[in-house]
Structures are given as C-alpha cells and as structure tokens.
C-alpha cells in the first residue's frame, strides 16, 4: 500500500499540474462514513455493484424487476485477490468506488483499517437481520463489535470431511471421527499404497480453518491495538499434528489445484479431503471417474464427542465509503443474501453455500447429490455451519500473512524446517507488516 499511495500522490500531482479538472479526488474519498446518515433517498436511486460471481447478473435482474426505484448495475471481473481488491483500493483512492462490492471475510479487516467500509448498523433493518444469519458469519462482518455491521454475509464454507466411502469399506478401515483415529487410518491407508489426504502447502486459509476448528484464532483487536497470534497453542497443535503425518509420509504434499492433484483423487491415490461446502463441486469436476464413491462426514474432532467445525472461504457484500445511498445499498445487500429466491439462484449459478440460516434449508440443499451416492451432503454442512466458532478473527494484511506462511509451508513439505517454524516466521513478518503500515499492533 505504501507504493500505491506514493504512486497515487505522484499521479495526483501530475493531474493537478496538467490541470485536467478542477475538482480534487481527495474531496470525494471521505472519512469513515457517518453511521447516522443512513436515510432513504427520495426518488429513483442507481447503484453500482462489483462482484466476481459468474451469473450474478440474472439474480440482480430479478431485484431490478421488483424494485424500479432502486436499480442496481452489476459488473463482474476477476476474483478478489486476482485484482478486484486492488481495484477497490484504487477506486477508493480516486473516489469512484462502486456502491457495493463483494469482499471475502478474510479481506474485510483490510478494508476496515483503510476506512473503506460503511458501518451499516444504523440502516433500517440491518441490525434486525442479525438473527437471520448464522452467528459466526455475523461475527465475521461485525468484527464482534457492538453496533457495527460492515458488510452483509453472503456465502460460507463450513468444513467437513469428504471421503472415499467405497475404499474405506473395501479395506475395512473405520471412518475416523477424531484426529487421532484419522492418523491411525492414515497408516492403514498408506499400507494399501495410497495416501489418506494431500496436505496443501499453499491453501493457508484451509489450514486456518483447521486451527479455527481447534478453537484457535490468529488475530484479535481490542479496539485500539491488533494482536497477532499465529503461534497460539491450538495453531502449534494443528501444525505439529500435520508435521508428524508429513514426516511419516502418511500424507502427500502435492501443490493443490493442479492436474496432478486432481489426478490423485481421480485415481484413488488420495482418499479424503478436509474441505468446505463449495469443495463438493471441485471433487466432482476434478475426479469425474469416482462418481458415486464419495461421501461426506463431519470433520474429525480433537476430543472424542466434541462438535466443532472450521470454515474455509466465504464472502460478504459490503457498502463502500463514498456511496451516496447506503440505505438502498443495504436493502439490496440484505435481499441478495437472505431471500430464498436469490440464494437459490446463486447456489445454482455458482454453488454458493449461503450464510443465511434460512438458506441452509433451501430445497436444492436438501436433495441427495448423485456424485456422493445420493447422500444429502449439505445436511452435513448445515450441521457443520452451526458448529463454527464466532471467535475467529482475520487480520488486516492477510495476503501478506498467507504468502509468508505459505513460503514456510512449501519449505517444510520439502524437508526444510517445520510447519510450526513457518507459523513463527509468519507471525513476525505479519507484525512487521502491520507496523510498516502504521497499524497499531501489540508486541
């Protein structure tokens, strides 16, 4: 951001000397929006909305049809980290950000510390909607502050375990319900020549989901200072657990989302995947030859009898600072993310798994899924969603944190260092990054 800001200053100076126009950009990119100003406008309102969900246009069309006074123009592009977040920041700087934008939970704090989000708490109906959303998703958008809502939760990625039901049964291996059993099963699976799963060296948010399940959290904010805690007890426990499996060659360590990785699942070389609800489609497309052989169970637990789940992914709809119509924008965001009509369409178009409670009972999410032997797998995810802790908090520089931890993980899976050491490195790198951006951080 430092470079961006400097480039921006240079550009603004250039613009001023060329005298292209009289009005200055800094005038429009206002300070944190006044929460009290959330009033309905008179007459027709036009809103702009940027998202990267393919097919969201049809959903917005439905809204536009029903709400002639609040017309939304939607634009799609690359996903958040693929450029859309950078664009949002540029647009906030230039004062022409859209009214609404899609932001993943782990990126919200970044926008929050840059004063890019409107607090919607005073907008009519927003606080009342709290009960309509799964608790933890509301925690993600309110940062667990009172009287604060910085976005409306859209989708979520509660985690469970995908497993090859046929292979477990044919080899007489019990489905693990605890991580201890999972490690035992890993040995048995390895004895057949396959791996129980692949440990992802670059999906750090998946690892965060596992820490989340274990009851840990990576960040905290006491209202003044950020607290970075990548090396808490739970994180180290999870890291040591997977390090042990890697050391004993009980899990494979292929880079995820590659053809080799798909192929391992397709050929039965990998038997389980601890992943999110949206992962159901990834297996179905990556391993088409295994149709009908998969099933879904709750994630293995750290203590037998526990009921805890993690979350991987999910996004929200935020209203940007500078929007002239936060009231109407909030109404649209609420409809988009809690009406069953919209949620059904979003699920069909892009497999979004809703964050709204009512969304978990959508008819499409109650049906048996053919690829999973007609198991109604989303029942498992609905149960998992209810078990996700509300306490997990993301930091304001997640891209940097992911990169640093991922570098360490990549080294660790090739034998240099350990996962726990990677977290330690990530910890100090993150503290440095926060300081470099003048974000107050507790040592």
């Amino acid at each position: 951001m430092r470079i961006t800001k400097r480039a921006a200053t240079v550009a603004l100076l250039t613009a001023a000397t060329v005298a292209m126009t009289g009005c200055s950009a800094s005038g429009t990119s206002s300070d944190s929006a006044d929460a009290a100003a959330c009033e309905p406008a008179e007459g027709k309102v036009d809103l702009t909305f940027t998202s990267w969900i393919p097919g969201i246009e049809e959903v917005v069309d439905v809204w536009n049809e029903a709400n002639p006074d609040i017309q939304v123009a939607v634009q799609t592009g690359p996903n958040g980290n693929g450029g859309t977040y950078a664009n949002f920041f540029n647009q906030l700087e230039a004062g022409n950000a859209p009214d609404l934008g899609q932001i993943e939970y782990d990126a919200l704090p970044n926008f929050r510390v840059q004063d890019g989000l409107v607090n919607l708490a005073s907008c009519d109906g927003v606080m009342d909607a709290k009960a309509d959303f799964v608790d933890w998703t509301w925690g993600q958008v309110s940062f667990n502050e009172d009287d604060a809502v910085y976005a409306i939760p859209q989708d979520s990625g509660p985690m469970a375990m995908f497993y090859r039901a046929d292979l477990f049964e044919a080899n007489g291996i019990a489905i693990p319900t605890t991580w201890e059993e999972y490690a035992t099963a890993a040995e048995q699976v390895r004895a057949t020549g396959a791996y129980i799963t692949n440990f992802s060296q670059s999906d750090i948010n998946q690892f965060a989901g596992l820490v989340w399940q274990a009851g840990g959290t990576w960040f905290g904010n006491d209202g003044e200072n950020w607290n970075v805690d990548l090396t808490g007890d739970e994180s180290i426990m999870v890291a040591d657990y997977w390090q042990d499996l890697i050391d004993r060659d009980l899990v494979s360590t292929q880079p995820p989302w590659t053809t080799e990785w798909d192929n391992a699942y397709n050929t039965g070389a990998a038997w389980t995947w601890n992943s999110a609800a949206w992962g159901a489609n990834s297996i179905a497309s990556g391993a088409p030859d295994t149709a009908g052989k998969w099933a879904v169970a709750q994630s293995p637990q750290w203590e037998a009898g526990d009921e805890a789940s993690g979350n991987w992914g999910g996004s929200s709809t935020a209203v940007f600072t500078g929007s002239e119509h936060p009231y109407e924008a909030a109404q649209f965001a609420l409809w988009l993310n809690s009406s069953s009509e919209s949620l059904t369409m979003l699920n069909e178009a892009a497999n979004l798994y809703p964050a709204a409670k009512a969304g978990l009972d959508l008819p499409v999410l109650k049906e048996g899924v053919e690829f999973y032997g007609n198991q109604p797998i989303y029942d498992e995810f609905a149960a998992a969603s209810g078990q996700v802790s509300s306490d997990f908090v993301w930091g304001p520089t997640m891209t940097q944190t992911y990169n640093d931890v991922s570098d360490g993980f990549k080294a660790a899976v090739s034998g240099n260092g350990t996962l726990a050491e990677a977290l330690t490195t990530g910890q100090s790198a993150t503290v440095d990054a926060l300081k470099a951006q003048s974000i107050p951080v507790k040592e």
């Binding site: 480039a7 292209m20 990267w52 664009n87 540029n90 230039a94 489609n281 990834s282 497309s285 990556g286």
Partner: protein, 304 residues
C-alpha cells in the same frame, strides 16, 4: 517506391548468404554446427511444447483432460469445445475477441501513424529542443507500461473516463519505441534530396510525408505496427485496472477473470484453455502475413 528499395536490399542479403556458404569464410567445424542445431532444437521444443499442450488440451473433453496423457490426443472434441465456449454466456468470448481486435488493430494503426509522424519530424526538421524532445521520448522507452497504469487510472478517474473504451484505447496510442525506430529509419532511408525535390515540385509538407516518406519508411512502420499490436493484444494490467464492465474486456482479461473463478465453476477451466488457444490465432496469422516486412524493418533499424 518499394520497387526501388527492394532490388537494393535483396541482393545485399543474397550476397551475404553467399558469403556465408562459400569455403572462403572461416571454417566451421561439424561439431559446432551440431551444437548450434541442438541448442536451436531445444529452444524450438521449449517454445512449441506449451502450444502443442494447449492444442491437445483444447481437443479434450473435461473428464479426459485430467485422466489422459497431456501431450497426446484422446477423443477429438475440439469443435464441440469451441461451440460450447462460444455459446457460454451469450457469446461473451467473441465479444472479447472483437474488443481485443479493436483495441489492438485500431490502436496499433493510429499509434504507428503518430509514431511515424513524430519520428519523421524529429529526423527531418531542425528546430530548437529537438534533441531534448527526442531524449525525453527515449526516456519513455525505459518506463514500463505497468508502472504507468495506476497513475493513468487516477488521471482518468478525474475526467470520469475509467471503465470506458477510451481508458484502454487512448494509452495504447503512445509508442515511444515506435518514435525512436521511425526516427532512426527516416534519417537513414528518406534522402533529404528527395524531400527537396518534392518541395520543388510544389508538394506541401503533409503531402510529401504521406506520398513519399511513408512509402520509404514502410518496413519500419510494419515493425512498429506489429510491436504495438502485440503489446496491446497482450496488455493485461491496464485493462485490469481500468475496466469493470465485462463487455469492454479484451480477451486476456476475460480469460484471466474466468481462470480466477475456476474453483467455483470448474467447467470454466475448459473454456479458459480453448479460449487461450483461439486467442493466439490472430497473432500467428498477423506474424505470418507481415514477417517479411518485419525482418526488413528490424535489420534496418539495428544497422544504422
């Protein structure tokens, strides 16, 4: 005019080639010859295998994509894949290809014209500050286009031109390298006497430029056009920053956007592959058509 230049250029090249082949030249050992061929072969493979892979991948159905040999064919589904790609989302891919063709075609054409006029003026007219101007342009060659994208975005924001056709088109019209090349080429290949003669015959400066000088500078102009066309066609960062409206995307940005959504919509992977294959075809055609001029232009610029 081109009839005049060619007989001059071609015999020289032939003569050079003859000189290489005659035994008079320094003797080349068979070993170094084999070595050179091997190196070239390795590099040819290095550059062609990804394209081969892309072509093979484009012919496969999505289920065979992961499960079959990546460098050899399975069932031939190329045309079905192309059909699906074009049908997807009401043919938005074709729209992107057209956008790219428009940005790159019209942009490169105008950029070449501007560069030619500028380079010609710098080469043939004497005026105060000429060298300074040229040096500033040369400095422009050193600034990567990527570094300019963000400042451009902020400037375009001031005049509300972001997310429009012009946001990508206008910056594409500038080619400092083109100015450099045309200046060098103009001073070498457009004789002052010829311009004098044209003036004596009563032609205005503009007419002289278009009827006499442009024809003499043609190889350089083709080179500039090709350079600029490829640069605009492959330009990714500027559209990424400037454009939000999918219908304005060039094909690079569109495919990138799809690729970033593959985790959510797995069938997009197939579309990205086949789309990437189709998107390089215009470049290949252009190179095949213009490579003769291209070689001339490159040689001329470098020697002088």
């Amino acid at each position: 005019m081109s009839a005049l230049t060619e007989p001059v250029a071609v015999p020289t090249k032939r003569a050079m080639r003859r000189a290489e082949n005659t035994p008079k030249g320094p003797k080349e050992s068979p070993l170094s010859r084999v070595g050179a061929m091997t190196v070239m072969l390795v590099f040819t493979l290095y550059f062609l295998i990804p394209i081969w892979w892309l072509f093979v991948a484009g012919t496969k159905s999505s289920s065979q994509f992961t499960s079959t040999n990546p460098l050899w064919f399975a069932d031939f589904n190329l045309f079905a894949n192309i059909g699906n790609l074009i049908a997807y989302r009401d043919g938005v891919f074709l729209k992107w290809m057209l956008n790219s063709a428009l940005y790159a075609g019209a942009g490169a054409l105008l950029a070449t014209l501007f560069a030619a006029m500028c380079g010609y003026a710098l080469a043939k007219y004497r005026f105060p500050g000429r060298e300074l101007l040229f040096n500033i342009v040369l400095g422009g060659v050193l600034v990567p286009a990527t570094a300019l994208a963000l400042p451009l975005f902020l400037i375009f924001s001031q005049v509300s031109l972001t997310n429009t056709f012009w946001a990508v088109f206008l910056p594409s019209l500038v080619s400092p390298f083109g100015v450099y090349l045309t200046r060098i080429f103009a001073s070498a290949s457009v004789p002052d006497e010829l311009i004098e003669a044209a003036r004596l015959d009563g032609a205005g400066e503009v007419r002289t430029f278009f009827t006499v000088s442009v024809k003499l500078m043609f190889p350089a102009l083709v080179t500039v056009f090709l350079f600029q066309f490829v640069a605009i066609w492959n330009n990714f960062f500027l559209p990424l920053i400037m454009l939000r409206d999918e219908t304005l995307f060039p094909v690079t940005l569109g495919l990138y956007a799809w690729n970033s959504q593959v985790n959510q919509i797995p069938e997009l992977r197939g579309y990205v592959l086949i789309g990437a294959l189709l998107s390089i075809i215009p470049l290949i055609i252009l190179f095949l058509l213009l490579q003769r001029f291209w070689r001339n232009g490159l040689g001329a610029g470098s020697v002088k």
